[in-house]
């Protein structure tokens, strides 16, 4: 006798099946593992164009691309595409073309495995590595948080009602968890473990294969999500018409006087009621003050323009550097440079449409909003849309598949980040200081794995505190990496850049980042702008200025170094 399986449970089994597939893929790719650290960290520099396209795209598209873009367009309207996606299409490809290909060639010629090795050599400075190591790891951690938090939230929202005997749920307001839902701590922890397993088994080759597989999965399932949700909302025209009727500012980047703002006005009514109830409670049992909804505001020209600096971050992502080095040849980059903007468009346009539809979508009789008016958690919007609108279909098959697609996007970034963190620790700290001849290949791999576990535990503990919105975290993390872009660009193109200039660049970036991050309430002020601009613009300007001025004031690099890195 087989007990009936509820739709929510079916979703859970599909998600588990997908995670099992990834582990199986890790086992298959582990058979190709040659046992050397070069193979573990760089796939013996043998990745062809298809896997490179998929790895680069899958790695740059995170929970941020799916969950963050949907959530942010839900909050701020269509402008999010122009700010992040179309700028990324232009700038990411520029960085791949102008920086990635050169670094690949230099890496292949001089045998670099990590960014820090390159910078130590290029700037004739051992200690630069000591400075860069905590900065890079410190910036990767929030990037990891984006994925870990995104996974936990998505699983929690989509599995509500699956196992009521095991998980009680609870809470109030936007963070309330439905009874039976796989809790956030378990979902995010489980995803970390699965990614660790397939990365440990297959190394960067395993990650590249998993990325390719997952990128295909999340693109396909993203499209299916879009089609299904638009159908559930009565078609695309109907879904957009509801936005024009209830929250028309979402299709623009301006706010007009006396226009309907149903989400805000209804959310405000709910807030006022909740606040009245809160005031009536005895002071010792009130709990936190309810969150007031934020009134929509437009996007300024300067805010929009200065987003262009954010995608420069890809030039300094350590995990992307590692993927560049895995390429079989410079020609392998060609399809990646061309296809990257198109793939971004394919993923982002539907997500942004889903985000603006979510502002106004109504279902049922009498009609009620798909996303409750008082909903304040943008990270949860995509999961809620999928969960609410597709729960009854195919006994939970569709929600399960769609969740697998979201998780695929998340994991295709986490795997590369886990690997690169292990790689820079094993190569730039352990082997560098103990001596590469004293640390065997196998030991490098082991050290790398141990350090990754340590970082994942730290990230997981931080994720349990739910430190902020996926989008805000990502923007600050990317701002730091973007602030280091002048360093890599100058290293490749400017002969006159010096060791002191490199130090100045890193230190000024770190100082500017810290000051602005503190002014932004450590991420609490989500809409923080400095002089009306994205903080990243100031960070990049300050680090570039420091690099140029200090380089010109100090002695030029040796002829030997210049001969090593530049054609005469």
């Amino acid at each position: 006798m087989i007990a009936a399986i509820s739709p929510a449970q079916t979703s859970v089994w599909i998600i588990l099946g997908y995670l099992g597939l990834l582990v199986a893929l890790g086992i298959v790719t582990s058979r190709k593992f040659k046992g050397t650290s070069n193979d573990y960290f760089l796939a013996s520099r043998g990745i062809g164009w298809f896997l490179l396209v998929m790895s680069l795209f899958g790695t740059t598209m995170t929970a941020f691309a799916l969950i963050g873009s949907t959530g942010e367009s839900f909050k701020a309207g269509i402008g999010v595409y122009g700010m992040m996606a179309s700028w990324s299409g232009i700038v990411h490809s520029a960085v791949f073309f102008l920086v990635g290909i050169k670094l690949w060639a230099l890496g292949a010629k001089h045998g670099y495995v990590t960014q820090i090795q390159f910078f130590r050599d290029r700037f004739e400075s051992d200690k630069l590595g000591i400075l860069l190591f905590p900065v890079l790891v410190g910036l990767v951690i929030p990037y990891l948080l984006i994925g870990v938090m995104g996974a936990g939230v998505t699983i929690e929202k989509i599995t509500g009602g699956a196992f009521p005997d095991l998980f009680a749920g609870g809470g109030v307001g936007p963070t309330a968890v439905k009874a039976g839902a796989i809790p956030y701590w378990l979902g995010s922890g489980g995803i970390c473990i699965v990614v660790l397993v397939y990365v440990f088994l297959g190394g960067v080759r395993g990650a590249a294969w998993a990325n390719a597989f997952q990128t295909i999965v999340f693109i396909l399932l993203g499209i299916i999500t879009f089609v299904v949700i638009s159908d559930k909302l009565g078609g695309m025209k109907q879904a957009t018409a509801m936005v024009l009727e209830k929250n028309p500012h979402a299709v623009r980047r301006t706010i007009r006087e006396n226009e309907p703002m149903t989400r805000y006005t209804e959310g405000k009514k709910e807030f006022d009621k909740a606040l009245a109830v809160w005031h009536k409670k005895p002071a010792d049992s009130r709990g936190a003050v309810p969150n007031a909804p934020k009134k929509p505001h437009g996007i300024t020209q300067l805010h929009f323009l200065t987003y262009m600096f954010i995608p420069l971050s890809v030039g300094m992502f350590p995990h992307l550097f590692q993927h560049w080095l895995t390429a079989k040849s410079a020609k392998s980059f060609k399809p990646a440079v061309i296809l990257h903007p198109l793939l971004i468009m394919i993923v982002w346009v539907p997500c942004v449409m889903l985000g603006i539809w979510a502002t106004s979508a109504m279902i049922g009789d009498p009609p009620r909003p798909v996303i409750p008016w008082g909903q304040g958690n943008p990270n949860a919007v995509l999961g809620q849309m999928v969960g609410v609108l597709t729960r009854g279909d195919g006994a939970g098959i569709l929600p399960g598949l769609l969740t697998a697609g979201i998780l695929a996007a998340i994991m295709s970034s986490l795997d590369s980040q886990f690997l690169c963190i292990g790689s820079i620790f094993a190569n730039d700290i352990v082997a560098h200081y103990l001596g590469h001849d004293k640390v065997s290949d196998r030991q490098k791999v082991v050290y790398g794995r141990v350090f990754v576990i340590l970082i994942v535990v730290v990230t997981y503990v931080l994720a349990l505190q739910r430190p902020g919105s996926v989008f805000t975290l990502a923007v600050w993390c990317f701002s730091g990496f973007a602030g280091l872009f002048p360093l890599v660009f100058a290293a490749v193109y400017w002969k006159r850049v010096t060791k002191a200039g490199a130090y100045a660049c890193v230190l000024v970036m770190a100082a500017t980042w810290c000051v602005l991050f503190a002014q932004a309430g450590y991420g609490a002020k989500r809409e923080y702008l400095f002089l009306g601009m994205m903080p990243v613009a100031t960070i990049v300007a300050a680090s570039t200025l420091a690099l140029i001025v200090v380089s010109l004031m100090t002695r030029a690099p040796s002829e030997k170094t210049l001969a090593k890195f530049f054609e005469r």
Partner: protein
């Protein structure tokens, strides 16, 4: 041709700042807001321009480095 391609990429970056569509509610096919459709077009144009960059602006020094790498690899019997 190289200067033209890079010039077009800079032009695309300038056209990215579509201030003339900031307040438009026009819907393409009654579905996609014009501000979003325009930027989807920017993505398409970016792909086209980077394809041109690959054809006309491919870095010569990388070709030289690749030859050196191949030469070094042959000299060491292909050992990494």
């Amino acid at each position: 041709m190289k200067k033209l391609v890079y010039g077009l990429i800079i032009l695309l970056a300038i056209l990215h700042q579509d201030f003339w569509l900031w307040d438009s509610e026009y819907l393409v096919f009654d579905i996609v807001p014009i501000g979003l459709a325009y930027h989807a077009g920017v993505s398409l144009a970016a792909a086209l321009l980077w394809a041109m960059a690959i054809k006309y602006c491919w870095p010569d020094d990388v070709e030289v480095l690749e030859e050196e790498i191949a030469h070094d690899s042959d000299a060491t019997g292909g050992a990494a």
